[in-house]
Symmetry: C2
Subunit: 154 residues, 2 copies
């Protein structure tokens, strides 16, 4: 099973095959960042105010799931999934088995599940990848099955 990290050459459709795994760098998240993101995009008490969050089902401040998703994307773009021409998602399935909390340090492990050439567009294909985001305890905070548009070598 081949593994790759940030800094490797960007990969084209021909370079990808099921079973390949990739590992991102890690990134921390603070209470201030959680509150700033939520103020702009997800202004709910359990994302905005540590005191109010104590009485919520989360029993403390937690990041918006979309903040976890956005940080996951940052980790993938920063070498976590070195696709030539960029990581262009067309969609996928996402789940948040547990919340991201202040002080968490996240990283992403990606596995290629399927590689399929386009029948109509010979310059590209669709790659299905599972991207699992974990906290510093190794616990998954997000799992995503993503469909990515990947170019063939010119």
């Amino acid at each position: 099973m081949e593994t790759q990290r940030s800094g490797d050459n960007p990969l084209y459709l021909e370079d990808l095959q099921p079973g390949q795994r990739f590992y991102s760098r890690s990134i921390g998240i603070s209470a201030e960042q959680i509150i700033a993101f939520a103020t702009q995009f997800d202004p709910q008490p359990f994302h905005l105010d540590a005191q109010a969050a104590l009485g919520s089902i989360f029993q403390g401040l937690v990041a918006s799931g979309w903040h976890t998703a956005a940080l996951t994307m940052r980790l993938l773009v920063d070498g976590g999934l070195p696709i030539a021409g960029g990581a262009i998602g067309t969609g996928g399935e996402i789940s948040w088995p547990r919340p991201t909390r202040p002080g968490d340090v996240l990283s992403v492990e990606s596995e290629i599940l399927e590689v399929r050439a386009s029948r109509s567009k010979p310059d590209r294909g669709i790659v299905t990848a599972k991207c699992e985001t974990r906290n510093q305890h190794g616990e998954p905070v997000q799992s995503m099955i993503a469909k990515l548009l990947v170019l063939r070598r010119a």
Copy 2:
């Protein structure tokens, strides 16, 4: 078919049934906002630089899909889906049939697909909703089938 808008009373599990539809307010997005989000979370040329984006498959600057997702959440929280206790997603399926571009004005139409009481936790249930985000031309930029944790009336 019942429809509701922002300002209505927040809804509990008992208030929801398949076929109900909800409509959000609308929100604009600028090139500056697209670039600011991408700088933080999705630093790829087609999200960062209008000139560089001209040569990409998007043929112009486009928002990160995660920016579209975050704005959709903002619209849902601001009355687009008035769930009592907050809009708490456990996951779902997401797709971006076309990109969000500078100057777009987005709004969300949500439809309740399924309402299911929890067997193990009598205070809550899981609601499946389809949330479609459209631009000012009525074209879908994001489609999401979301699983939401919804409380029963106390």
